[in-house]
């Protein structure tokens, strides 16, 4: 593949990478190198893990042309379950985390099941389950902050592998596995086929119901991983956990090049886009900007990315018409 073709096919990834690198360098330069200090770098990378994983959790549902509005609520409940089991019931860490992870997966499976059975769009179903789960989360945590769990958990969360935070490594590894799932397994392909054209998928002998169920369940499992990362990297769990996940979960995949219509995933794009969003966060801290600036910036970036990708789509469609004429 020559450079031109590479650029055309990977335009989103390349420009995002460029933005990320430039933004990073700009921040390094304007902060007189503070960002390169061990602690800042560590902080930057550690808090990149959750946006990546929840971005993936949203991406797998976008891949079938649906949305999961309950990403935050599922994560909040899952983390709360883990915390309550450890603090109030003295479960061993591994068991508490496993149960929390499985319950997030089950919540995803329930979403998928409801979508398939009712034939309603995931938007409506997850809007419903989100509300129910938020209620459940408040019941579990109330107004407390739960932090009475064994110290080995935050220790685990602070571990490094080859200089990188362990939890970031987990997030990246999850992304790599997901990427293999979609490109190299027949199940992943079928899920994408359902998202690409459900009618054609059905006529090709693919069960769309199964694809929808798998996508939502997978989304739940990814939320479970995000909850594990959260509980091991934060000092305590309260009812605000997951509250700011929803916008973030859409921002990364959409900026990263995933189509709302379904049929595509963009793992690398989503990861880098999560990095770009993190940079905005860092910039805020660096220059003590108003927190609203972050929301504002991310919102504008999401809007302009969607608008740009729509423009690109139209241009390629016109080119497509042209090529058809040539054929």
């Amino acid at each position: 593949m020559n450079f031109k073709a590479l650029f055309r096919h990977r335009a989103t990834e390349l420009s995002l990478t460029a933005i990320f690198v430039l933004g990073f360098l700009l921040l390094v330069a304007t902060s007189h190198g503070v960002l390169l200090s061990r602690e800042s770098l560590q902080g930057f990378l550690t808090y990149l893990a959750v946006p990546i994983v929840i971005g993936m959790a949203q991406m797998v549902v976008l891949a079938i042309g649906q949305m999961n509005l309950a990403v935050g609520a599922m994560g909040g409940v899952s983390a709360a379950i883990m915390a309550v089991l450890m603090a109030d019931h003295h479960y061993p860490i591994w068991l508490a985390l496993l149960i929390g992870f499985l319950s997030a997966t089950a919540m995803g499976a329930i979403n998928g099941f409801l979508v398939v059975v009712t034939q309603l769009n995931g938007f409506i179903i997850t809007l419903g389950t989100m509300t129910i789960l938020l209620g459940f989360q408040y019941r579990l945590v109330r107004t407390f902050t739960i932090d009475a769990y064994p110290k080995s958990l935050p220790d685990f969360g602070a571990k490094n592998i080859l200089g990188f935070p362990l939890i970031l490594v987990i997030a990246i590894a999850t992304s790599v596995i997901l990427s293999l799932f979609f490109s190299r397994t027949s199940t992943g392909r079928r899920v994408l086929a359902t998202g690409g054209n459900a009618l054609a998928a059905r006529l090709s002998g693919i069960s769309n119901g199964k694809s929808v169920f798998i996508a939502h369940t997978l989304s739940g499992a990814l939320v479970g991983i995000a909850a594990i990362i959260t509980i091991s990297s934060l000092p305590g769990i309260n009812r605000s956990i997951g509250g700011d996940w929803m916008l973030a979960s859409f921002a990364a995949p959409i900026i990263g090049g995933v189509l709302m219509a379904g049929g595509t995933v963009a793992i690398y794009g989503t990861v880098v886009a999560a990095g770009v969003v993190r940079l905005v966060d860092i910039a805020r801290a660096q220059y003590s900007l108003d927190p609203s600036i972050v929301s504002l910036t991310v919102g504008v970036v999401v809007l302009s990315t969607v608008a740009l990708s729509e423009l690109r789509r139209r241009r390629s469609e016109r080119a497509r018409e042209g090529r058809k004429v040539a054929a």
């Binding site: 293999l180 490109s183 190299r184 397994t185 027949s186 392909r189 079928r190 994408l192 086929a193 690409g196 054209n197 009618l199 054609a200 998928a201 059905r202 006529l203 090709s204 002998g205 693919i206 069960s207 049929g263 595509t264 016109r318 080119a319 497509r320 018409e321 042209g322 090529r323 058809k324 004429v325 040539a326 054929a327």
Partner: protein, 501 residues
């Protein structure tokens, strides 16, 4: 003054390709003008320029003497130009009458006048002699019914210039006759009609003048049609002499067990007492008017809709097919849909993935990982075998021409090694040359032992391809004819079956 539309030296380029090169065309009121050419010759581009969808790079468009390109379809409609596009432009969730009156819904005091709307829509449909519930949502209609609604939509605008882009591609001969009556009446009332079709018999029946496009150039420009023989027109279109395909009678052994046998099948959709047999290596034709229930029968048998009673045997075994997945993986039956864009292809996926979609579980390496190598070799095999024109098999299916898309949609079933293939209207909207290669392919596949059920509304195609022709009317079989492949006797036989009974 007389209606006239003039196109002078119109050119249009798309990135990397010259779609139209100094094309000329003159349409006059009271005359039907044929616009002919292979797929990709530039016909649709020209129509889109006339109607303001595309902007020409250079040239002149004169409507009744006024020199002006339209900036949008709305402007063109307001100037008295109506168009029936090849791709349907209907709103699926709207009713038939809402769609027909979409451009200018009749209003009274600023709100839609429903009574008037119904009257207008009914009038248009009556002109077409087409009976349908005006309140039915368009999404529930068949392809042919949609096409007729699209034509009715053009009629209500009282346009002086009507452009028909393949209006007969998906309607039956009966409906075509009615449409031609309408065109004749329009012509008598002084309307200028542009008629695009791949069916030359129809063109000769209805058209007065002709323009032929080839690779974006006008080879014949607004010539009287009567001065040209059919062969000359085809030569102008394809640029070389196409030898007439030999029509051969094939031998099918019907003393063996049928591969598929239906006995007294009734379906939830209303089929009654359907009994038929398909023999190994046979091309079994299914002819019928639109709405006769042919596709619906195929879909019912394949498990998409239910079978309420009756017996289905495959290779002598009574079976029940619950879903298309069953049909494909357990019984090796494939179904090439008539709506290739909507149901046959993943337009945003590469050709490679479109072909491998039916065999994903068969091209796995260890650990359940898809072997790209095998996927590549399988798809390349069918791209070569069917002569699909692609840059490479990573080209997106949506960027292929209609005929090539159809070939991709067939490839996925061949890749899955199906034993029975149901092919539904394979050559709708496909040009002469691709059509011929498609016909050759069908015969070739049957000769290799594939058993084929061919559903087609194209009588000539049916008679030249099928070994036996079943005729369906109102969800019942009304004829079962051995095909002598003689057009005159066979067409008479089929029509008798449809209209008697």
């Amino acid at each position: 003054m007389n209606t006239e539309l003039r196109i002078e030296k119109v050119s249009k380029s798309f990135p990397g390709v010259k779609a139209l090169n100094e094309v000329n065309l003159i349409m006059k009121g009271g005359s039907v003008h044929a616009l002919l050419g292979e797929n990709g010759a530039g016909k649709s581009t020209l129509i889109k320029i006339i109607t303001g969808v595309y902007r020409a790079d250079s040239g002149v468009l004169k409507t009744n003497g006024e020199e002006k390109f339209f900036n949008s379809p709305v402007e063109a409609t307001d100037a008295g130009i109506a168009v029936v596009h090849q791709e349907r432009n209907l709103i699926p969730e709207f009713s038939v009458e809402e769609n027909i009156t979409l451009h200018h819904p009749p209003t009274k005091f600023g709100i839609v006048d429903r009574a008037e709307r119904t009257r207008l829509a009914r009038q248009a449909l009556e002109t077409l002699g087409f009976d349908i519930d005006l309140n039915e949502r368009v999404k529930n209609l068949s392809v042919a019914q949609m096409q007729l609604v699209e034509i009715a939509k053009a009629l209500v605008t009282n346009a002086q210039i009507i452009l028909l882009d393949e209006p007969t591609a998906s309607i039956t001969s009966g409906e075509t006759i009615k449409l031609f009556d309408v065109i004749k009446r329009l012509k008598e009332s002084g309307t200028a009609v542009l008629f695009v079709s791949h069916k030359l018999e129809e063109v000769y029946e209805i058209c007065d003048t002709v323009t032929v496009l080839r690779d974006g150039e006008s080879i014949l420009e607004s010539k009287p049609l009567s001065e040209y023989k059919q062969g000359e027109i085809v030569d102008a279109m394809v640029g070389r002499h196409l030898a007439d395909r030999k029509v051969e009678l094939r031998k099918v052994n019907r003393s063996v067990e049928p591969v598929m046998q239906l006995t007294d099948i009734h379906t939830a959709l209303g089929h009654e007492k359907i009994s038929m047999s398909l023999y190994p290596g046979e091309v079994l034709g299914m002819y019928g008017l639109v709405g006769a229930g042919r596709s619906e029968l195929a879909r019912s048998v394949l498990g998409l809709h239910g079978i309420s009673s009756g017996e289905l045997k495959l290779n002598g075994q009574v079976v029940e097919i619950k879903s298309l997945r069953d049909a494909l993986h357990k019984h090796r039956i494939g179904y090439v849909t008539e709506n290739r864009k909507e149901e046959g292809l993943f337009l945003d996926f590469p050709v490679r993935k479109n072909i491998s979609v039916t065999i994903l579980s068969k091209i796995l390496k260890k650990l359940g990982v898809i072997s790209f190598q095998e996927e590549d070799s399988v798809s390349t095999k069918y791209v070569d075998r069917l002569g699909i024109k692609v840059v490479d098999n990573n080209q997106l299916a949506g960027t292929l021409s209609g005929g090539n898309q159809q070939k991709v949609s067939v490839s996925k079933w061949l890749a899955a090694d199906t034993k029975i293939l149901i092919i539904d209207e394979p050559t709708v909207g496909v040009d002469v040359r691709t059509k011929a290669s498609f016909h050759e392919l069908i015969v070739e596949l049957a000769n290799e032992g594939l058993s084929i059920i061919l559903i087609s509304s194209d009588l000539a195609e049916m008679i030249s391809l099928a070994d036996r022709i079943l005729v369906m009317r109102d969800y019942q079989l009304v004829g079962d004819l051995d095909n002598s492949k003689d057009y005159t006797t066979m067409s008479r036989g089929i029509m008798t079956a449809i209209h008697s009974a």
